[in-house]
Structure formats: structure tokens, C-alpha cells
């Protein structure tokens, strides 16, 4: 019970923190920022990895698919964000 409440406290603080971190973003960064936060939401991969520890064939299949999906999110998400931001950099280099 205590642990749960502490986790809840952590959740609440992180929500407020997430709210504060994003402010006044220039519009050309909206898409990269969306993509970058999407990559972070790939943190589900941690859950997916942990769920491979459960045992049972069907559960393992589910866990495997979870790992596949989450790693698509993580790898794809970070790389695509980087590519996008690289484009901006390329445009900026000339000034």
C-alpha cells in the first residue's frame, strides 16, 4: 500500500513536470517535438521486457509481440526524430 501511494505521488509530480517542460515551442518544432515525445512513450519497452519473465506459452507470445511493437516505437521514434531535426540543422547551417 505504501509503495503504491508513493508511486501515485511520483505519477502526480511527473504529470506536473511534463506540463511545465513544454512551453512556447516555435511552430516549426511542433512535429519533431511530437515525434520526440512519441519516442519517449516507447518506454513501454521496459514493461514489455519485464513481461517476458512471466512464463506460459500464450503469455510469452504476447510478451514477444509487445517487445516487437515497443522496439518499433523506440528505434523508429528516435531515428525519425533525429532525421527531422537533422533537416532543420542542414537548413540552418547556411547562416
Amino acid at each position: 500500500m505504501t509503495v503504491l501511494l508513493l508511486l501515485l505521488f511520483i505519477f502526480v509530480l511527473a504529470i506536473f513536470l511534463g506540463r511545465e517542460l513544454i512551453q512556447k515551442v516555435p511552430s516549426q518544432l511542433h512535429t519533431p517535438l511530437m515525434s520526440g515525445t512519441n519516442a519517449i512513450s516507447g518506454i513501454a519497452i521496459v514493461g514489455a521486457i519485464a513481461s517476458t519473465a512471466v512464463g506460459g506459452t500464450f503469455s510469452t507470445v504476447l510478451a514477444f509481440i509487445a517487445v516487437v511493437l515497443a522496439s518499433i516505437n523506440v528505434f523508429g521514434g528516435y531515428l525519425v526524430t533525429d532525421r527531422m531535426l537533422g533537416m532543420f540543422r542542414a537548413g540552418k547551417r547556411e547562416d
Binding site: L29, V80, A90
Partner: protein
């Protein structure tokens, strides 16, 4: 040992926080993304070292998923970015759903709180999964981009939402025994994801994706409560909250409210145009336009969605170079919602190597619009529609625009008199100082370039 994992998770959370902060500023964004990626690496490694993990399964999954992710992210074109993000996002939501499901199967004797977390992970994850797939389909035109509306749609969606809540409560009240309820919850979530996104027009998809992105964070956070994992909770709720703020920022830039985006079926039909438009349309050939441009000292390009459709960014840059050689000052006025995704024009023009300092915002160019000899509107429409300033009855009223109607001469490059995304008539086309140069933007620009070169 356990203590080291927690410390690693704290480190990962800090990296996410710092990375997210850096992502919001142009000069640090790219490094911010890398910082956040390092955080992910730390979290993954710490998790892998925990006991019981089935390395074969994880490794196989990482290779398959990582391979797909890498391949995909390399292959897509810049203009396909939003739909790609949608797919990745859907995958993340799906993973949270599966984590909740798998955990339930292996530890059916859940307490109430875990049961609530499980059903939330499954519901939110499921909506994210199918909603993102529909958004992807709409943007990539595999599914019609038009809003798909049917009678009683909102009633059906409302009923589904209610069903989701009821099923969730039933499952949580009967923890452990409610496998059937969990399966029902999964089904409801998947259907709800589809049905809540299909009535939304394709052009609103960036906002929907941003919202679904926030959801996938919340789903991950719920999954974190299922397995008592701090970094999942923190990273998930960071994304959940920041994604919501970002969604609001995006709505604001388009002068829309989130409710309006989600429920109005905007763009579903050509809407009333407000006032009737008076005046005469004056067309001009590219040859004649060339003579005007040739004499101009101060030229502003105003790109819009049509430039993306015609893939005319390189042609624009070529023309701009010739104009500069000819002694003119050239700038590009970028409206925040020109195109179909935020930063759309910036990305395209960056691809064509347009110098960063030639990009100006509406607020920079509007005050001195009278000094502009020629404003060249390239496939833009709504973002230069003076009705936004003048006509209180217009759906666009109140949106800041690029006021090319006040330039000395304005060329509008588009194929027809058809309205843009909003379906609203554009009085600009009827103004005295406006000349329509009809045709595909790339073709017309090519002709102008040809005239300059043959000179």
C-alpha cells in the same frame, strides 16, 4: 541489487526530463533527442539485468522490432513524417495493451488497484493502437481523408465509451476472475479507437496524432502501475502531460479548439463561405508574370499546402536564386499552419537548402507589406485569406494571416479557383492587385525559371 536498478531508473528519468526540455528549443532539440535516447538505453539495460527476463524472447523481439523501426525511419520521406509517427505511436500503445494482458495472464490474483491499472493500460493502449492506425491510413491516403460520418455516430461513440467504463469497473471489482471482461475491454478499446478517429478530417490528423501520443504515454504509465515500475510511470506521465500541452499549442496555432477538432467533422462538407465575394478575377500568363518579377526589388514567397502537393520547393529555390542574382531581396513568409503539419513548409524549404535567415514569420513581414513589390503565393490559400481579418461570419475569422492583399502586386499560383482546406472562398483572388497564375505550381515556376534563363 534492486537498489541499483532503481537508481538507474532515476537516472533514466532525469535524462528524459532534460531531453524533453531541450527538445523544445531549436538550438538544442537534436541533442535533446539524443539525451532522451540515452535515457531509454539506461532504462532498457537496467531492466534486462533484472532476474527472470527471457533473453531469447527479448532478443528476438528487439531484432525484429528494431529492424522494422530502423528500416522504416530511413525509408520514409519528410512529407510522410506525421503518418510514420502515428504508426510508431500505435505500436507503443499496442505494447502497453499487451503488457497489461500478459501480466494478467501470469498473475491472475491481482488486487483491485493492479486490476484498475491493468484495465486502463488495456483500454488506453487499445484506443491508441487502432486510432493511430486509422490516422496513419488517412494521412497516407490509404483510407479516405474525408471525415467518415454516419447517422448516430456520436451516440455510438458515447455508448462505446460508457461500455469501456462499465467493463473496466466490472473487471476491477472482480480482480483475477474477470478474464472475459478483460477480453471485452480489449475489443471495446480497439473498436473505439477506430470509430473515434474516422469522423475526423485528414487535415486534422496532426492534432489527433499528438493527442494519441499523449494517450500512449498514459497507457505506459498505467502499465507501470501494473508492474510497479517507476520509470514507466514517470516517462509515461511526462509524455502524457507534455503531449496534452503540445496538442493544445497546436490547436491554438490553427485557431481551433480541441473539442472542435474531435467532434465537429471539420472539412466534411464545403461550408458556407460567409460573405459573397465581389470583384473580378484577373489571370496572368507566366510570361507576363516574368516581366513583373524581373522589375521587382522586394519579393516575398508565401508557400502553402499546394507547394507540398506539387513538390515545388526546389523550383521555388531556383527562382529565388535567379531573382537574387537579378538584384531583388527575397524572403519566405512562413505561416505556422501552412501545409498539413506543423513545420511542414520549414521542412520542405530546408530540404531545398533555403537559407534559414530568409524565412520570416507573419509578424515580421506584415507591418512592412506595403514595401513588398511582389508577393508570390505558391499553393497557399487559407493562410492568405483576408476574410480572416475582414469577415466576422467567416469560419477563418480571427486567424492571423499573411496579409499579401496589402502588397503592391500579388501572384497566386494554383490550379483553379477551388477553395483550400477550410472550404472557404478567398476574396484575395478578386482584389485589384492580385493576378492568378493558373497551373501546377512546379510547372508554373519552371516556366518562370525558363524565362529568366532564356533572357
Amino acid at each position: 541489487m534492486e537498489a541499483y536498478f532503481q537508481l538507474a531508473y532515476i537516472a533514466a528519468a532525469v535524462l528524459f526530463i532534460v531531453g524533453l526540455k531541450m527538445l523544445g528549443r531549436a538550438d538544442t532539440a537534436r541533442r535533446g533527442n539524443m539525451v532522451s535516447a540515452v535515457g531509454m538505453l539506461v532504462a532498457v539495460v537496467a531492466t534486462l539485468l533484472q532476474s527472470g527476463v527471457d533473453y531469447a524472447v527479448v532478443f528476438a523481439g528487439l531484432v525484429v522490432g528494431g529492424g522494422v523501426g530502423v528500416f522504416w525511419s530511413r525509408r520514409v520521406q519528410m512529407t510522410q513524417m506525421p503518418e510514420t509517427v502515428a504508426l510508431f505511436n500505435g505500436a507503443g500503445g499496442g505494447a502497453s495493451l499487451l503488457v497489461g494482458w500478459a501480466e494478467f495472464l501470469s498473475r491472475p490474483g491481482q488486487d483491485t488497484v493492479t486490476a484498475i491499472a491493468t484495465v486502463l493500460a488495456v483500454l488506453v493502449g487499445g484506443v491508441t493502437l487502432t486510432g493511430s492506425i486509422v490516422a496513419w491510413g488517412k494521412l497516407s491516403e490509404r483510407v479516405s481523408g474525408r471525415p467518415i460520418l454516419f447517422g448516430g455516430q456520436q451516440v455510438v461513440n458515447g455508448a462505446l465509451l460508457l461500455a469501456a467504463v462499465v467493463v473496466g469497473v466490472l473487471f476491477a471489482m472482480n480482480p483475477g476472475g474477470g478474464y472475459a471482461w478483460l477480453l471485452v475491454a480489449i475489443a471495446v478499446a480497439l473498436v473505439l479507437g477506430v470509430l473515434s478517429v474516422i469522423p475526423i478530417g485528414g487535415a486534422d490528423m496532426p492534432i489527433v496524432i499528438s493527442l494519441l501520443n499523449s494517450y500512449s504515454g498514459l497507457a505506459a504509465s498505467a502499465a507501470g502501475f501494473v508492474i510497479d515500475n517507476t520509470v514507466l510511470i514517470v516517462a509515461g506521465s511526462l509524455v502524457g502531460a507534455s503531449g496534452l500541452i503540445l496538442t493544445q499549442i497546436m490547436c491554438k496555432a490553427m485557431n481551433r479548439s480541441l473539442t472542435n477538432v474531435l467532434f465537429s467533422g471539420f472539412g466534411s462538407a464545403t461550408q458556407s463561405t460567409g460573405q459573397a465575394v465581389e470583384g473580378e478575377v484577373k489571370a496572368m500568363t507566366p510570361e507576363d508574370a516574368y516581366f513583373v518579377l524581373e522589375a521587382a526589388n522586394n519579393v516575398v514567397f508565401v508557400p502553402g499546402y499546394g507547394m507540398a502537393v506539387a513538390q515545388a520547393q526546389h523550383a521555388v529555390k531556383e527562382l529565388a536564386d535567379l531573382l537574387e542574382e537579378n538584384g531583388a531581396e527575397v524572403r519566405y513568409a512562413i505561416h505556422p499552419v501552412a501545409g498539413r503539419m506543423p513545420g511542414h513548409m520549414n521542412v520542405l524549404l530546408a530540404e531545398a537548402n533555403v537559407p534559414y535567415e530568409q524565412l520570416v514569420e507573419p509578424g515580421d513581414v506584415n507591418p512592412n507589406m506595403e514595401m513588398v513589390d511582389v508577393a508570390v503565393v505558391i499553393g497557399a490559400n487559407d493562410v492568405v485569406n483576408p476574410a480572416a481579418k475582414e469577415d466576422k461570419g467567416s469560419p477563418l475569422y480571427g486567424m492571423p494571416i499573411i496579409e499579401v492583399d496589402r502588397a503592391r502586386t500579388t501572384f497566386v499560383l494554383k490550379r483553379s479557383m477551388k477553395p483550400g482546406f477550410s472550404g472557404v472562398e478567398n476574396p484575395l483572388f478578386y482584389k485589384d492587385n492580385t493576378r492568378m497564375v493558373f497551373g501546377d505550381a512546379k510547372a508554373v515556376l519552371g516556366q518562370l525559371v525558363g524565362e529568366f534563363k532564356s533572357d
